[in-house]
Each structure stands twice: as structure tokens, then as C-alpha cells.
């Protein structure tokens, strides 16, 4: 019986001992302090059909770390894994990335379906899109179809590489980069900042005497069965009811908007909180309400991502998939998908640069509210749904609560049941 969990632990310690990755331990989960960049990559390696984006300046070990993990998980040489990635630039085309029509079929006499020569990247189960924001906006659309899918189609033919791990990297905005489309960002499950090594890490890295290529060969290798067994092991981790409830409320906190069609902020086009939509709204400037603090609502993909990454972290850290994990990982799952109000983000201690920290604060608020102040409304609503109390009685009770979920979700839902 393979034991991939212990092999992952070996991989983590090998990366540190071989001076291949010495990131700051910037993520606190319960009592465990871990490096977010490494652990999100590991979590994504344990999942299939999810994409994570490493975001940071040049030389922050983004691409190399993913390739090193690919070396270990796929059991391939580093050179071979590096051949599997595509790098963004304006001259990239679908033909170069995915595959192209085999020209030999036009000269032969054989009849039959069109032959496509798929690239290594297309047929690989480990896909890295390097420097994704160097693809022009139009070409980014290609990835809308590919990310989180099991199959790639071209010229009527389909390539089925199987369940795939997707990774992407990007630099901050430079002169040759392009903004990422919101729809593409929504398909990215988590965005993790990659920081430059700190003082001590820099000192340790200078002790590295061999080339990365040579050291990569010393990393533990996973067998095919071990790599394939990871998603099942993650799926075996149960989520607590508290996490399920907190995830649901978190999504609704961001998505509900009193002034949007069907109270759904994702329907907004043109008008948004930052353009004055919330002026005069009852919830505007209420620090406990999340709705007016960010322009975008969250899609159902966020719910799926939060649940699956909670499980993956519970597996990696060998603990319950509890609220501590959700609190820690949710900001990374959400922050690239939203635009907080500039007036709020520019205040100390964020100074316009702490978007992740600001998102973490919003997440914290939502979870705390769900676990404390929302207790009563959730219980009233659930009893009404289960017909333990009448809908009209529940509506009357709920109407005395000034909570967006009670007002815009629970009451309309109960009204429709009457």
C-alpha cells in the first residue's frame, strides 16, 4: 500500500535540506506555521483539475518550485518537466501551445479523421503556464477552455490527458504584461504570493553548492500509483458542518447586494460599489457588512475551491478540516477574484498594497459573524425549512435581524415557500 503522505513529508524536508526552497513560513494554521507558496503547490498536486497561480517578482522560486515538484510527483527529470511548460508571450498561438494539424496527412492517400499532433504540454497531466500575464488578453481566452477541464479540443479532435494539475505563474504588472481577465482569474482556485528569500534564507541559499538540476535528482520520487492515489486520500477527509456553513455564508456575504438583480452582485455590469452603487444603501459603511466593500461577488467555483483546498490542507497537515484551515486558506482563494474599495484599501495598515491582508480581514469577519451573531437566524431558518415552525413565524422573527443573509436570502426563500 503506497504511503504518499510520508513521501510528501520527505519531499518538504528534502526541499529545505537541499536548499531548493526556503520560503518564509507565512501561513499559520492552528499551531502549524508553514510556507504558503510550498503548501498550496503541494495541495494542488494532491488535487486534480484545479489551478493555482504563484504571484511575485522575478527570481522568487515560482517556476522552479513547480518544476521541482513536477520532477518529484511525475518521477521525471527536471529537464523533461521544464519541457512540459508553456511560457506566455504575444507570439504564442494555440498551435504552439496545444497542437497542430499533421501536415503529412495531406500528402498520403489515407482517408480518415483529421490528425492532430498534440504538444507535450497538451498531453501532460502536469501543466504549467509560465508568465501567464504575458499572454495578450485575447490569447488568455484559450485557457478559459483548458483550465479545470479534462480534455483539450483542437480542429475537431480531442486530447484526453486525464486528471491534470494546473499551475501558473505571473509577475506583477510590468511594461510587457497584460491584465488578467476576471473570468480567467475565477478559474484559478488560489493565488499565492511568492516572496523573495529573507536574510537567513539568502544565507542558506548561498551555501548551495550544486546546481538545481543536480539536486532535483535527489528529491523523493512518487510512483504512478502513489501520485494517482492522492485525490482519493484528500477526498477521504471529511469537512465539519461548521466549515460547510462558514463557506456558504462567506460566499453569500460577498455575493449578496441589495441593489443588484436578484440580489446577485455577479450580475452587475457597469455599476458597482466603487462607482457609487452603494451610496445611501442601508449596509453601506457598516463595517460588519462585506457586500459594499468589494466590487465583485463570488461564483460557485469559490465554494468548490474552498471545500477541496480545506480537505487538501487537512490531509497535508494531518488534522481535521476545521475552521482554522478555512480561515487560513480562504483569503488565498478569494483575494485575486475581488477588488476591494480603494478608499478602504488605501487606509493604514493596508496602504493600497495589502489586498491579501484586507481580504483576510473580511474573511475573518464573515466567519466570526457566522459562528456567533448568525447562530440565531440560521437556526430559525433551518427550523422553518424543516417545517418545525411556520414560515410566517420565521419571517417575522428574521425580519428583526439586520443581516444581509437573513434579509436577502432567508426571507425571500421562505416567502416563496408560503
Amino acid at each position: 500500500m503506497p504511503d504518499p503522505k510520508s513521501k510528501i513529508e520527505q519531499l518538504v524536508s528534502s526541499l529545505e535540506e537541499l536548499r531548493l526552497h526556503l520560503g518564509r513560513k507565512d501561513l499559520l494554521i492552528g499551531g502549524d506555521r508553514i510556507n504558503a507558496q510550498l503548501y498550496f503547490c503541494l495541495a494542488n498536486s494532491c488535487l486534480r483539475g484545479r489551478a493555482i497561480l504563484l504571484y511575485g517578482g522575478m527570481g522568487a522560486n515560482k517556476t522552479t518550485l513547480i518544476n521541482l515538484l513536477g520532477t518529484s510527483f511525475l518521477g521525471l527529470d527536471l529537464d523533461r518537466v521544464e519541457d512540459l511548460m508553456v511560457t506566455g508571450h504575444p507570439e504564442q498561438t494555440e498551435e504552439k501551445i496545444v497542437g497542430f494539424l499533421d501536415p503529412r496527412q495531406w500528402t498520403g492517400q489515407k482517408e480518415g479523421p483529421v490528425q492532430v499532433l498534440w504538444t507535450d504540454w497538451a498531453s501532460s497531466r502536469w501543466k504549467l503556464v509560465n508568465e501567464i500575464n504575458r499572454f495578450p488578453s485575447g490569447k488568455q481566452n484559450l485557457f478559459l477552455e483548458i483550465l479545470q477541464k479534462r480534455r483539450i479540443s483542437y480542429a475537431g479532435q480531442v486530447c484526453r490527458p486525464g486528471e491534470t494539475c494546473y499551475f501558473a505563474t505571473m509577475n506583477p504588472e510590468f511594461s510587457a504584461t497584460y491584465p488578467l481577465d476576471q473570468a480567467l482569474l475565477d478559474r484559478i482556485s488560489a493565488c499565492v504570493p511568492a516572496y523573495q528569500p529573507d536574510f537567513l534564507a539568502g544565507l542558506l541559499l548561498s551555501e548551495r553548492e550544486k546546481e538545481v538540476r543536480d539536486l532535483a535528482g535527489m528529491l523523493p520520487r512518487f510512483t504512478e500509483s502513489e501520485f494517482s492515489s492522492l485525490p482519493q486520500l484528500v477526498a477521504g477527509r471529511p469537512l465539519s458542518s461548521q466549515v460547510e456553513l462558514a463557506v456558504l455564508c462567506l460566499i453569500r456575504d460577498f455575493t449578496l447586494c441589495e441593489r443588484a438583480p436578484s440580489f446577485d452582485k455577479t450580475q452587475l455590469s457597469g455599476s458597482k460599489p466603487s462607482l457609487g452603487l452603494c451610496s445611501g444603501c442601508h449596509y453601506h459603511n457598516n463595517p460588519e457588512a462585506i457586500c459594499w466593500q468589494a466590487d465583485e461577488g463570488l461564483s460557485d467555483r469559490v465554494r468548490q475551491d474552498l471545500r477541496i483546498f480545506c480537505r487538501a490542507f487537512a490531509f497535508l497537515l494531518d488534522r481535521e478540516a476545521d475552521l482554522e484551515i478555512l480561515r487560513a486558506i480562504a483569503p488565498y482563494v478569494i483575494w485575486h477574484r475581488i477588488t476591494p474599495l480603494t478608499s478602504l484599501l488605501e487606509r493604514p495598515p493596508y496602504f493600497g498594497a495589502g489586498k491579501l491582508a484586507y481580504t483576510a480581514k473580511m474573511v475573518d469577519k464573515s466567519i466570526n459573524r457566522t459562528m456567533n451573531e448568525r447562530r440565531e437566524i440560521n437556526l430559525i431558518y433551518s427550523r422553518a425549512v424543516d417545517e418545525e415552525i411556520s414560515a410566517s413565524e420565521a419571517i417575522e422573527e428574521l425580519s428583526s435581524f439586520d443581516d444581509p443573509i437573513a434579509r436577502m436570502d432567508f426571507i425571500p426563500s421562505l416567502e416563496s415557500r408560503q
Partner: protein
């Protein structure tokens, strides 16, 4: 699984309700909400009465961003919070912070306008620049600021103020008490209509120093601008060097 069973498992323990005992409708959710209840002219006693003693309620309101309408209310809440806080309270740079402060300590990186207005006690420390009307009408306590803009310590009745850098125009206008020390320079018309109290400036002062002054004491270590002590009726003015047209009785220290 029934939804109520799911909720019961999410909230396993029967806990005391977290809502305040004064009734759920009395919970104040925002400064706007509080402003609606107080009406057009907020005062400290009505804010104190409505907000109550509960720390979470004060924190909730204090963390709001006050619009123009709620600036005074936020100021009163900042004072209530500082008075209840066992340690120095760090506040963002909104107007009216420390309004009618009686005790406690407030720390700010920058200060907006009207900070420390009508304060009676306690301390306010502003690490960087303060806005207009710093310590206006203060009666007690002390303020330290790196620098300040115009009308600082206007109509001061007591307490003390220290400006580590430069102060703007109309410093100590109409003062009837208190002590002001400026380690940098101050703009024109410092000590205008001053009736009592002390004003000490280590640097230079602008023109019309002590204009129409009737009491108190002004000391300028550097030079004073033109017309120092113009139409002075009482009090004393001394400056290192005097500008043109200084009034009779104004002392040049040399």
C-alpha cells in the same frame, strides 16, 4: 440530512445569546444608524447614553469610516474608547478624534482637523502632521504633535500643547489659559487676541505676533515678523529679533 440537524451540528453548544441584553432592535450597526437616533446636534451625553458601556459596540462604531455627518459622533466615540482603554488607543486620522476627551491616551500617525477639541484631560500624541484646529477650546490634558496646520489651540483655556515642528497660522488665537510650546516656527498672527496663558516658540514667528493681545506671555527665540504686538493692550511679548514696525513695549532679546 435535515437542515436543522445540519445547523445543530454546526452550532453544537447551547450558548448564551450574543446579542446585547438591551434588545436586538437596540443594537447600533453603524454611525449612520446612531446619527439617525441622535438627531442634528450630537453631544457627548446622548452618545454615551445610546452607545452604552459595551466594548464590542464601541469597537464596532469606532471601526467605521465617518462621513461628514458622523464626524462629531465618531469623535465622541473615540474619546469613550480611549477612556475605557487600559493602554494607549491607536486611531486612524479622522477629524474630531479625542473630542471632549477626559482621560486616557490616544496615539495617531496623522491627525485630521479638530483633534483634541474641548478635551479636559488625558493625552493625545500625533506622530506626524496634525490638521487645522488642533486642541481648539481645550481645557485640560495635553497634546503632542509633530507639526500642525492653522488655528491650533484656538481659544484654549487650559492644559498644554507641544508642537515638535512648525505650527501654521493663528496659533493660540483668543487663548485664555494653557501653555503652548512650538519647537519649530509658527505662522502669522500667533497669540492674536490672547488674554492669558503662555506661548513659547523656539524658531521664528510670522507677522502680527500678539495682535490685539490683552494678557498672557509670548516668547519667541528666533525672529518675529513685522508689526509684533500691534495694538497690544496687555501681556508681554519678547522675541530674539523684531521685524519692522514692532509696537512699543515689545522686548527684543538680541
Amino acid at each position: 440530512m435535515k437542515l436543522s440537524s445540519f445547523m445543530d451540528s454546526a452550532y453544537p453548544q447551547e450558548r448564551a445569546p450574543t446579542r446585547p441584553s438591551k434588545g436586538r432592535k437596540d443594537m447600533i450597526f453603524s454611525l449612520e444608524d446612531l446619527a439617525d437616533r441622535i438627531g442634528e446636534r450630537p453631544d457627548r451625553s446622548s452618545v454615551e447614553e445610546l452607545v452604552g458601556e459595551e466594548r464590542s459596540q464601541i469597537d464596532l462604531l469606532l471601526s467605521s469610516q465617518p462621513g461628514k455627518r458622523c464626524a462629531l459622533i465618531w469623535g465622541y466615540i473615540s474619546s469613550l474608547a480611549a477612556e475605557k482603554s487600559p493602554e494607549a488607543l491607536h486611531l486612524p486620522s479622522f477629524d474630531y478624534a479625542g473630542l471632549e476627551l477626559a482621560k486616557g491616551c490616544i496615539m495617531m500617525d496623522r491627525a485630521g482637523d479638530h483633534v483634541g477639541e474641548r478635551m479636559r484631560g488625558g493625552r493625545i500624541v500625533v506622530q506626524q502632521e496634525a490638521g487645522d484646529y488642533l486642541g481648539q477650546e481645550m481645557k485640560g490634558g495635553g497634546i503632542v504633535a509633530a507639526s500642525c496646520r492653522d488655528y491650533a489651540f484656538r481659544q484654549m483655556k487650559g492644559g498644554w500643547g507641544v508642537v515638535k515642528g512648525d505650527a501654521g497660522k493663528f496659533l493660540g488665537l483668543g487663548n485664555t489659559g494653557g501653555r503652548i510650546a512650538v519647537q519649530g516656527s509658527c505662522g502669522q498672527r500667533a497669540g492674536w487676541m490672547m488674554r492669558s496663558g503662555r506661548l513659547y516658540v523656539r524658531g521664528d514667528a510670522g507677522e502680527y505676533l500678539g495682535l490685539l493681545m490683552s494678557g498672557g506671555e509670548i516668547r519667541i527665540l528666533g525672529s518675529a515678523g513685522r508689526r509684533a504686538g500691534w495694538q497690544r493692550k496687555g501681556g508681554s511679548i519678547a522675541a530674539g529679533r523684531l521685524g519692522q514696525e514692532a509696537a512699543d513695549g515689545v522686548l527684543e532679546l538680541g
